[in-house]
Symmetry: C2
Subunit: 243 residues, 2 copies
C-alpha cells in the first residue's frame, strides 16, 4: 500500500511524514453535523461530501459505506486489540490479558467523549446502526474468544470457558461504558471499568489462591461447615500452614 493511499488516523504518530490534510476527520465531522441536523436516514453521502468540500471518491476511499463513517475508529481499534493479544508471550494470566485488551476499546471512546456520546444517541435511534454495532461487538468478542481458546487449549472445558469469558468481558465493558455514555460522558469511567472487569476476573478468572504463578502464597483460606468441631478446624489450619 503506498503512503498516499493510507489515511492518517486519529492519534497516530507520523513524525517524519509530512502532515496530511485531515480529510478523513473532516468527513466524519461533516457527517455528524448533518446526522444531528437532519437525521441519519435523511443524510446522503452526497450531502456529506458537499459539506466537507471533497468528492465522492474521497469518501469511499476512507469508508466503505455510510454506516462506517459512524464508527470510524473501530477497524483501527480491532487491529490494536488483535495485535495486543498476539503480542502476549504465553505467561500472562489469560482473563487478565483480555481485560487489558478491552481497555483499548474504552480508550477509543474516552479519546473523544463528546463524539462518543453523540454516536451513542444516534445508534440508539437508528436500528441499522444498532445492527452494525452488534456486528462490531461480535468481532471484538471473537478476538477475545480466539485468544482465550488458544491459551486454554488442552484444559478442561477450554472452548466453553473461552466463549463464556469473552462474552462476560464484553458485557462488563459495555455495562460500564453505557453507564458513562448515558451520563453524557461525566464521571470516572476508568474506576467503573476496573470494578466491572474485577467482577469478571474474580468470578471467571483463576481462583484467588490458585492462579499458577499469579498470587503470592501468603494467604490461607479455610472453609469449614459451622458444625465442624473446632479442633478439626485448627488441625486443618496447622496442616495448611505447614505445607
Amino acid at each position: 500500500m503506498s503512503s498516499s493511499s493510507t489515511p492518517p488516523r486519529r492519534g497516530e504518530k507520523s513524525e517524519a511524514a509530512p502532515v496530511k490534510p485531515p480529510m478523513r476527520d473532516a468527513l466524519v465531522a461533516a457527517a455528524f453535523q448533518l446526522f444531528l441536523e437532519r437525521g441519519y436516514e435523511q443524510t446522503t453521502v452526497d450531502d456529506i461530501v458537499t459539506l466537507a468540500g471533497v468528492g465522492r471518491r474521497s469518501f469511499f476511499r476512507y469508508f466503505p459505506s455510510k454506516e462506517d463513517v459512524v464508527f470510524p475508529d473501530h477497524e483501527r481499534c480491532l487491529a490494536d486489540v488483535t495485535a495486543f493479544l498476539a503480542a502476549e508471550d504465553g505467561t500472562a494470566e489469560p482473563v487478565r490479558r483480555v481485560c487489558e485488551a478491552v481497555r483499548l476499546v474504552l480508550r477509543m471512546y474516552t479519546e473523544n467523549p463528546g463524539f462518543s456520546v453523540q454516536r451513542y444517541r444516534l445508534t440508539k435511534q437508528v436500528p441499522g446502526l444498532r445492527a452494525y454495532e452488534l456486528s462490531v461487538v461480535w468481532r471484538y468478542e471473537r478476538a477475545f474468544a480466539d485468544h482465550l481458546r488458544a491459551r486454554l487449549a488442552g484444559q478442561p472445558d477450554g472452548s466453553l470457558r473461552a466463549d463464556v469469558i469473552a462474552a462476560a468481558v464484553a458485557a462488563a465493558h459495555n455495562n460500564a461504558l453505557r453507564s458513562w455514555l448515558r451520563a453524557d460522558g461525566e464521571g470516572d469511567v476508568h474506576t467503573e471499568m476496573d470494578h466491572a472487569l474485577g467482577y469478571v476476573q474474580s468470578t471467571l478468572g483463576p481462583a484467588p489462591d490458585g492462579g499458577p504463578a499469579e498470587e503470592p502464597k501468603d494467604v490461607v483460606v479455610v472453609v469449614s461447615r459451622r458444625g465442624a468441631p473446632l479442633w478439626r478446624v485448627v488441625q486443618q489450619i496447622e496442616a495448611t500452614l505447614e505445607k
Copy 2:
C-alpha cells in the same frame, strides 16, 4: 387478531380448530430448497412463492422479509422465553431460571435437527444472515438481562451482574449448540447443554452453599495472612462462631 390471519405454528396444538393448510411451512420448505439449490442471494421471494404455489402477499403475511423465512420460529421462541421468565413468582434462583429459559431456545433447534443444521450452514455462508442472527441473539440476551436486572435490583452490582450473567448464559448455550450443529446434529446436545450451563451456574450463580437469602448460615470462611499468629486466627474463628 382474527383466526384467519393467525398462521398455525410448528408444534402448536389446535385440537378444536379445523386443520389449516400448512402454507407457512410450505413457504419455509420451498425457500430452503431454493437456497440450497441456487444460493441464498440468488433466490428471490418471487422464486419462493412460485415454487410454493402461492402469491407474494401470502409470503409477506407470514414473513416481513426474505431473511425472516430463514429464522421462522425465533419470534415464537422469543415470546415463549419472555412469557416463561415473566411467569416467575420471585422465588426461583435467578441464574437457574435464565438457564431454564435458554433451554426453550435449544428445544426450538432440536425440534427439527435437519432444518437447524441446514440453516447453520447457510448462516455461516451469508454475512447478511449472520448479522440477522446476531440481532436475534441480542434480543434473547436482552430478555435474560431484563429479567435478571429486575430480580437483582437493589443488590450490589445488580445491573452489572445481570448483563454479565445474561451474556454468559447466551455464550454457553451457543457454545454447546454450535458444537452439536457442527457435528450435523449428532450427539447428546442436552447433556452438553447441562454441562455448559452448569459451568455458568457454578461460577456466576450463588455460591454452592452460600447465596445470601438463599442458603442457611452454615459456613464460616476465614481469611488470614500466613504471618498471623495462630492464636489470633483461632480467636477470630471463635468470635465468628459465637456471632
